[in-house]
Symmetry: D3
Subunit: 232 residues, 6 copies
């Protein structure tokens, strides 16, 4: 099984790092290929950056299907271009936010998303509403560290995530935590352990990993999005 992961325009070492993270999440027989956008912003932290990234995302989705991959993951919590990409493609196209939010809704009473900056709050609220899960969203909490710095100090980031997740559990009634940026990939278990040490045993969902599992499952089931919803 071949899964294509589309990421934003970042230096090449991050392609390798992303490839390693997704390969670690995928089943052993899955071949992960990561492609980087040629155009568009280096990170997607606003609807404007998202809009500018979408045309090249669509090109990359089209190429992916032409190259015979089995599923595509758009590796960004904004699920940028998910609807138009599904119009173009017959193979499954997965958005990490949609995959993670529905998974969270299945695992417990309500979930919180731990996002990066204040500007993330409205779009995450819009996504939860669009995906029909507005009432399951307990809160959006913030680590307040810019995305491009998220890689630099992993320990500090885990600490901030655990701190905000704790508040989501104790003050907002969250029973499940969703990491709010795909740049946080690989940290879910550390945050889960930090929460458990504080006495809060709750699942922490890594949206990128949830996207991989949904992609694998859909390919296994020979299922994709409905072409009545996403007409070519």
């Amino acid at each position: 099984m071949k899964i294509r992961v589309i990421i934003q325009t970042l230096p090449y070492e991050t392609v390798d790092a992303t490839q390693a993270l997704f390969a670690a999440a995928a089943r052993s027989e899955v071949e992960i290929s990561v492609v980087c956008l040629d155009k568009g912003p280096s990170s997607i932290e606003s609807d404007y950056e998202e809009a500018m990234a979408v045309p090249d995302i669509l090109t990359k989705v089209r190429t992916a299907e032409a190259e015979g991959v089995d599923a595509v993951i758009i590796d960004c919590m904004a699920d940028p271009g998910l609807s138009p990409a599904r119009e173009l493609a017959s193979i499954p196209v997965i958005g990490p936010a949609q995959a993670a939010m529905h998974l969270a809704a299945m695992l417990g009473h309500r979930f919180s998303v731990i996002a990066v900056l204040e500007r993330d709050i409205p779009p995450i609220g819009r996504q939860a509403r669009l995906y029909g899960l507005e009432r399951e969203l307990a809160s959006v909490r913030l680590v307040n560290i810019p995305v491009l710095n998220l890689d630099n100090d992993c320990e500090r980031l885990v600490g901030a995530l655990a701190e905000q997740a704790t508040r989501a559990v104790t003050a907002d009634g969250a029973h499940v935590i969703v990491l709010g940026c795909t740049t946080m990939m690989g940290l879910a278990r550390q945050v889960e352990m930090a929460l458990a040490e504080r006495g809060y045993v709750v699942p922490v969902i890594d949206p990128g990993v949830a996207a991989v599992k949904l992609a694998e499952g859909l390919v296994d089931m020979k299922l994709a999005h409905s072409k009545r919803t996403y007409l070519r």
Copy 2:
């Protein structure tokens, strides 16, 4: 007051026709300028076409504000690029669907949208949900005439709109009708009269006109979208 209307890439005579329609809808002191996208599809009938049109829409919004217009209308029922455009601009940016749906909700019990093709049903449903008006939407009904043909036979179009609006009223419980494509601009009164002749006195809303009135009102009030929702 200066209002800029952004339309898709159509032949020049349509720019003039659009200008005339919007000028007729606007107050006499309002100066309407219509600009046409340089890139992107000739009509927006899918999420894919919408996504490809958005980057140039954003350029046109930026230019509009730089040129000192007071408000911008993105003349398409998909409200393409509304969120990112509002991030870029401090002046009001108006989507006809949002303006028309909220107006419809204020005028009666439930409303129906008479759209063009089957593919319009999911995005209109998504918009109603996103704008918080899902329960006010009685139905989406279709004239089943491709957008690019809508101009050709106006009488047939009015007939089809009146027919579907009648069914929306009698079968779906609609009390207000919203025209589902900005290409239908200028036909609301004719459809309203055709409905009245059949014994159904219901308001018919022309989204383009609703957008003009919202733009005029916002400029008068010196109000625009919230910069806490749409951070630059």
Copy 3:
């Protein structure tokens, strides 16, 4: 264009003040006439006072249409008698709360209403639910100054409004503010500036002004409420 504004039983100087405020909000060619109820309470701060005011409001709406005005505004945040008045009238009848809440929903993520007294909370909640905007209402906050005193100390009122609006933004997640009593008319810009000085740039909506703009727009569009919802 002629717009009739119906206000409660107050001394005549307030009729003049109200006339001036509405005239300032309206376009220059609009003729504003203010009529005062002959019967009923001097202010509407409860459902009881509202109910007692409605019969004379309906008389005044009937008179307004007979006198040939183009639209009527019932100048009270309870939108008293809006439904029965619309049954009586074919011209647009506008409630400031409905106009302001829908406008707020269009301008940002969620809105708060800054009302007067604790007793306002349930009716504002009921209105938001009735207008289909319950999930857009972030909170109702209170200045805790009786309505009949609102005029006396304008500076204190603006301060209290700005204070509560700030809390609505920081603690309740409001992105748009709606003034919660038509007696606060004319203060929106001052509150907006006070908020901006504190670093919170959010639109502040004056329901009376929003009602004027909706009235003007409807008259321009030759639209009114649906007679299928509001049967005569």
Copy 4:
């Protein structure tokens, strides 16, 4: 226990008939007194008629409490004046529609209201929304007989109710039926039997009777509406 029933301005024999119907519904120790409005319309079939009836309803509620009755029923499916009456009174004030809709929601999956005329559809929809039961309302169906004629031909009315209730069950998925006008009081069992003969065993709720039972229960429990919601 004393329960006061407030009815509209009808000839005196109807006071006796209403008294008999309510006494038959009440427990033997309950004393039913029926008072008729002195002012207002002879029936309430519109929001306008409702609004005009409310001031005298409020007078009658105030008198009832002063006379020492234990609970008041406003005998009209529009629940006219329910909120302001509860502000005035400390004793329970009951609206038949609220009592019947909540009872229906407890007894089965979804309910339909069989009302009189087309004009009843929007207010019943508004009530269901206001009472938080919009999603439980399967449909509003109509017998299309004017209220003032409802008394004249009881057999025809039962037939029409059974016919519409059958359609509500088979076409709209209703599992419980609510009679839609208090003038239909006393017919629930006949409609239920007519439905059972057609093979549809569903509860049929008589709102007047449901109001009596709620009143009795509240007086027994020494409970009334919350004075935080309905401030005097």
Copy 5:
């Protein structure tokens, strides 16, 4: 009228105490019989304990109908086995939570449930959603005393209930209080008085008593749950 109350496996003196409490709540002519489960846990504080109790509850419901009682109350806030018991029985089967929550929704703006332990929060949330009253539920607050200790120190329990009810009113916007465990039966008036002493006049609902009143009312009306929803 005969009402059967089904309680969990507790020592016999509690059967007498429960009988006395229900008899005190019921009308004088009602005969209350209490039966205790032969199998299952001694209290229901989890979904597991509920699931294990249900089969014997169903046996007891079947026996009750065979013995000719008129209605059955399943005396537990989890309403355990309500749906399957209604499939088995033609007589009314009442769940205290359903009865109390709908009553609360009729008496005021929003209600809070004061429950026992943290584990009660998700099931009460699920019940409110299932009964269609999720938006009426202001909060679930906790006394944090294990159920089996609730009887031991009544004064402390009333104090804790009043304390949490006060917070529900002041911090969560509750206008009505629902006691969250049937073991608290008989305390509603004391909690109401303790609240009133603090200046908060709100109704406090005892679910067991609400269940009795609903049972009496349904038997009086000769109504039961819909056999289209609960097919035998």
Copy 6:
């Protein structure tokens, strides 16, 4: 990876058939073991049968975890005992309905469930509401063949499923189909093809297969349900 499937009390050949169907759905390295309830009804077609089956389901879940399996699937569309089983177990416990409904919500605009008998409509509606997906459920349609006969005439069943799925698509606006009984396992592709032959290209979800994929994904991710929602 070891997955335990719990089925109802059926003859042994069905255990083998079920084992084969689940093994075919699972990845090659997954070991599927099927256990049959020792007590309870032979099929679950009512809440009563569900309630009677749950205690033994819980025993089987406890045994499964003790025997070291990695996840448990309760193979019934009623998801019987899902909540209490999750309280008992730390390993993932999966309900096919929950897995299938969330998957359906991710793949298209709205979904319909094609169930067996009329009695399935209320519980499926309750599940959709409980899982927060009520608005995504376009309809429940019925093949009207008793569960125990579903195996006997596969061709007729596929025909009936395709017929009802077609109506769900054309009349109810469904864009995704969910098979409504786990006894239909293995037929999704045939129904999908029958639909495609009629010109309707929509995904058809087999809940048993969706449950397997969710189980595999959760085990891969080392995630399970939240112990704050499902306290042991």
